[in-house]
C-alpha cells in the first residue's frame, strides 16, 4: 500500500473540502470549491464564530480557543473535524499549518487528500539551508552564504569570510521573523541572539544561518504549478519589493525591471528547482534581483501565496481551482507560453487593521461599517465585514485589494480610485498610507527595492499620512455636529448596536426634536 508521505493522486471523486484556515484565504478557497461543485467545511476558533469564512461555508466545526496554538495550529482537532464532517480533502490556505510537513502527513495518514505539495517537498523546501542546497543542485544561482545551520562558536569567523553587511536568518524562517541585518561586526552577537529567540518562539526552531546582504535588491518571485505527471508550469513574475519590515505590502505583475530574457531565465530556473525536488501543486520560488539584473534564489514557499490574485489577473487562470484539480490527479493542460505573457498589469495592496500614523501599531476592534470598492478592474479579497471584530489573535490583514488594467499607469490610477472608494469605519487601517504611497513619484517610476519603504518611512519620521485639508476638517466638524444633533442614539449605533428603523426612524427622531418640519 501507500507509503507514509507518498502523495495519492487517484482522488477523482473529491466531494467535500475542509479548509484549515480563517479569514480572507478561507473564503477564497471556499469560492473555488463552490465553483467546482465541491461542498466546504469551515473550522473556527472561539472568537471566529461569526467570521465570514464560517458564514460562507456549508458546514462549520469549532476547533478550540482563540489562541492559534489552541485551534488553527491543532493538527489533531483539524483532522478530527475533517473526519466528523466526512471531508475527503484538506486545503491549508497560507500561514498556520500550510507549510507544516507533519500536518500534510497527518492528512494523508487519515486517508484524506492534502491540497498542496507532499510532506517531503514541504520538509526540503521549508528548511532554508536544504532549499539552498536543492537550488544549487538544480543549477540556480544563490546568494553567497552558509549552507548549514551554525553553532554560536563558528559564527563570527564565517561572518567575516562572507563580509558585511550580512543577514542572520532563521533556518525555519519566513515573513521576516527571525531575521536580522548586521552592518557592524560588533552587533553580530546581539543579532544572532535576537534572531534565535524570535525564531524559537515563532517556529520552534532556533537555528540560524548567514547570507550576504545584497545592496538595494528587488524581491521578484515566480509562481508555479506542478502536476503529478511531471509537468511544471511557471508563471510571469510578481514584483514584491515594496516591503515594510520584510513584510510585503504592495505586489504587482509584471515587474518593470524584468526583460523577456530575464523572465525566461528566472522562470526556467524556478521550474528546474521545482522539478529537482519532485514538487507538486502550487508553489512560489522567490528571488532577489540585484542592481545589475543578476538574480539569486532566496527561498521557496510551498503553498499558495497571499499575493496570488495578481497572477490570476494577468494570466486569467484560477490558481486555487488548479490546486484542487492537481490534487485530484488531473493533468495540467494549460499553455505554458501564455502563462509567461502577461495580459495587462495588476497591483495588490494588503489593507491592514494598523494605524499608519502610530508606527503601524495593530488597531484591533469592531468594524462598524465597511464599503468595498467595485467597478472596472477591481478585485477585493476580504475576510472582513461590518459588525465583525478584527481579533487580536491573528494577522490583522483585512483585505487584499487588487486592480487590473491594460497597462501600469492605468492600473495605478484604478488602484488609487479604488482606495478612495474603500471605507472602513470604527478602526484605523492602512488605507491612508496606501493613498500616500501610490501618489509617490518613486512608485510611479518603479524606483524601489526591498528596503525602499523602510528608508522612506524613516525619513518621514512619523509625519501623518492623513493630512486633512482645512476644507475637509470643516466638513468633518459640520458632519459630526449634525450627527450628534440628529441622532440621539447615534453613539449606540456607532458602537455597533443595530439602529432601529433606518431613515424613517431617523426622520421621526429629528421631528421629535423639532429640528425638521414634518
Amino acid at each position: 500500500m501507500r507509503k507514509r508521505g507518498a502523495p495519492k493522486y487517484n482522488h477523482h471523486d473529491l466531494k467535500k473540502v475542509l479548509i484549515a484556515n480563517r479569514g480572507e484565504i478561507a473564503v477564497r478557497v471556499a469560492r473555488a470549491c463552490r465553483e467546482l461543485g465541491l461542498s466546504t467545511v469551515a473550522v473556527y476558533s472561539e472568537c471566529d464564530r461569526t467570521a465570514l469564512h464560517v458564514r460562507y461555508a456549508d458546514e462549520a466545526y469549532p476547533i478550540g480557543p482563540s489562541a492559534p496554538r489552541e485551534s488553527y495550529l491543532r493538527i489533531d482537532r483539524l483532522i478530527d473535524a475533517a473526519e466528523k464532517s466526512g471531508a475527503d480533502a484538506v486545503h491549508p490556505g497560507y500561514g498556520f499549518l500550510a507549510e507544516n510537513e507533519a500536518f500534510a502527513a497527518a492528512v494523508g495518514d487519515a486517508g484524506l487528500t492534502f491540497i498542496g505539495p507532499s510532506p517531503a517537498a514541504i520538509k526540503t523546501m521549508g528548511s532554508k539551508t536544504a532549499a539552498r542546497a536543492a537550488a544549487i543542485r538544480a543549477g540556480a544561482p544563490v546568494v553567497p552564504g552558509t549552507e548549514q545551520p551554525l553553532a554560536d562558536a563558528d559564527i563570527a569567523g564565517i561572518a567575516a569570510s562572507i563580509g558585511y553587511p550580512l543577514l542572520v536568518k532563521a533556518v525555519a524562517g519566513g515573513g521576516g521573523k527571525g531575521m536580522r541585518t548586521v552592518t557592524d561586526p560588533s552587533d553580530l552577537v546581539d543579532a544572532v541572539r535576537a534572531a534565535r529567540s524570535e525564531a524559537g518562539a515563532a517556529f520552534g526552531d532556533a537555528s540560524v544561518y548567514l547570507e550576504r546582504r545584497l545592496t538595494r535588491p528587488r524581491h521578484i518571485e515566480v509562481q508555479l504549478l506542478a502536476d503529478a505527471h511531471g509537468t511544471v508550469v511557471p508563471f510571469v513574475e510578481r514584483e514584491c519589493s515594496i516591503q515594510r519590515r520584510h513584510q510585503k505590502v504592495v505586489e504587482e505583475s509584471p515587474s518593470l525591471v524584468v526583460s523577456p530574457a530575464l523572465r525566461a531565465a528566472m522562470t526556467s530556473a524556478a521550474a528546474s528547482i521545482a522539478s529537482a525536488v519532485g514538487y507538486t501543486n502550487a508553489g512560489t520560488i522567490e528571488f532577489l534581483v540585484d542592481e545589475d539584473g543578476r538574480f539569486y534564489f532566496l527561498e521557496m514557499n510551498t503553498r499558495l501565496q497571499v499575493e496570488h490574485p495578481i497572477t490570476e489577473l494577468v494570466t486569467g487562470l484560477d490558481l486555487v481551482r488548479w490546486q484542487i484539480r492537481i490534487a485530484r490527479g488531473e493533468k495540467l493542460d494549460i499553455d505554458p507560453a501564455r502563462m509567461l505573457t502577461p495580459h495587462g498589469h495588476a497591483i495588490e495592496c494588503r489593507i491592514y487593521a494598523e494605524d499608519p500614523d502610530n508606527n503601524f501599531l495593530p488597531s484591533p476592534g469592531r468594524i462598524l461599517q465597511l464599503r468595498a470598492p467595485a467597478g472596472p478592474g477591481i478585485r477585493d479579497d476580504s475576510g472582513a465585514a461590518a459588525g465583525l471584530d478584527v481579533p487580536i489573535f491573528y494577522d490583522p490583514m483585512i483585505s487584499k485589494l487588487a486592480a487590473w488594467a491594460e497597462d501600469r499607469p492605468l492600473a495605478i490610477a484604478r488602484m488609487r480610485r479604488a482606495l478612495d472608494e474603500y471605507l472602513v469605519a470604527g478602526i484605523k487601517t492602512t488605507l491612508p498610507f496606501f493613498r500616500w504611497l501610490l501618489a509617490q513619484r518613486d512608485f510611479h517610476d518603479g524606483r524601489f527595492h526591498t528596503t525602499y519603504l523602510d528608508e522612506v518611512l524613516k525619513a518621514r519620521n512619523g509625519v501623518p499620512f492623513t493630512e486633512a485639508s482645512a476644507e475637509v476638517e470643516e466638513i468633518a466638524a459640520i458632519g459630526a455636529a449634525l450627527q450628534v444633533m440628529l441622532s440621539p442614539s447615534a453613539s449606540a449605533s456607532a458602537a455597533g448596536c443595530a439602529a432601529p428603523g433606518g431613515p424613517q426612524a431617523w426622520r421621526a427622531r429629528a421631528r421629535a426634536e423639532g429640528l425638521r418640519g414634518a
Binding site: 495593530p362 470604527g426 429640528l515 418640519g517
Partner: protein
C-alpha cells in the same frame, strides 16, 4: 444647537440652526448652508453651499464650489472614545465637547503637557524594555517592545521627557490598557 468640535487639537465652535429644508451651520463664524440626507445610521450625504438654496436662480446660477457634495460617515473609534469622521475617503479624528458627550474624554495621553502614560494598546507580551528609570527620551524614541498579533510592536515616546516610572519587565504578559511606563 451649539457644539465645541475639536480636530487636530484645535477647537471650533459649531452652531447649527434650521434653514429652509436644511441647516445653516456656522463654523467659527463662517456659515454654510447644508442639505443633509440620511443614508444610514452612520452615514449622511451632505450638499454644502455658501448661499441658501433659495438664492440659486436662473439669474444667479451656481458657481464652481457651490452645491459641493460630500459623503460623511461618523463612527465611534474603537478604544479612543473619539469619533472617526470620514469625509469621503479621508478619516478625521474628532472630539465633541458639546452638550452630548460621546464616550469618555481622552486621558492626556499624547497631550502637549503633563506626564505621558505609555499604555499597552492590546494584550501581549513585553519583549524588551528599551529604557531605564531616569533616562532622557526624545520624541518618537522607542521605549518598549510588545509582542502581539504575531508581530513585535515598538511603542514610542510621543515627546521628550524623562522616564519617571517603569511598571513592566521583559517577559511579562500585559492586558490592553495596562500602564507600562510614565514619561515626565
Amino acid at each position: 444647537m451649539q457644539y465645541e468640535v475639536e480636530i487636530g487639537g484645535r477647537p471650533r465652535r459649531v452652531v447649527v440652526t434650521r434653514s429652509g429644508g436644511g441647516f445653516a451651520v456656522s463654523v467659527d463664524g463662517r456659515t454654510h448652508f447644508v442639505d443633509a440626507a440620511r443614508i444610514d445610521a452612520q452615514t449622511m450625504s451632505l450638499v454644502v453651499d455658501s448661499v441658501p438654496p433659495a438664492e440659486h436662480s436662473a439669474a444667479r446660477p451656481a458657481s464652481p464650489g457651490d452645491r459641493r457634495g460630500y459623503e460623511v460617515n461618523v463612527a465611534l473609534l474603537t478604544g479612543a472614545g473619539e469619533l472617526q469622521v470620514h469625509v469621503g475617503p479621508v478619516p478625521v479624528v474628532v472630539s465633541m465637547n458639546g452638550r452630548r458627550r460621546w464616550g469618555q474624554k481622552h486621558d492626556g495621553h499624547g497631550a502637549a503637557s503633563g506626564p505621558q502614560k505609555v499604555v499597552a494598546p492590546m494584550p501581549g507580551k513585553i519583549v524588551r524594555v528599551l529604557v531605564a528609570a531616569g533616562d532622557q527620551v526624545s520624541p518618537r524614541q522607542p521605549v518598549v517592545v510588545v509582542e502581539a498579533m504575531k508581530m513585535e510592536n515598538e511603542l514610542r515616546a510621543s515627546r521628550e521627557g524623562t522616564i519617571a516610572e517603569i511598571h513592566v519587565r521583559q517577559g511579562m504578559s500585559v492586558e490592553a490598557g495596562a500602564l507600562l511606563l510614565v514619561i515626565q
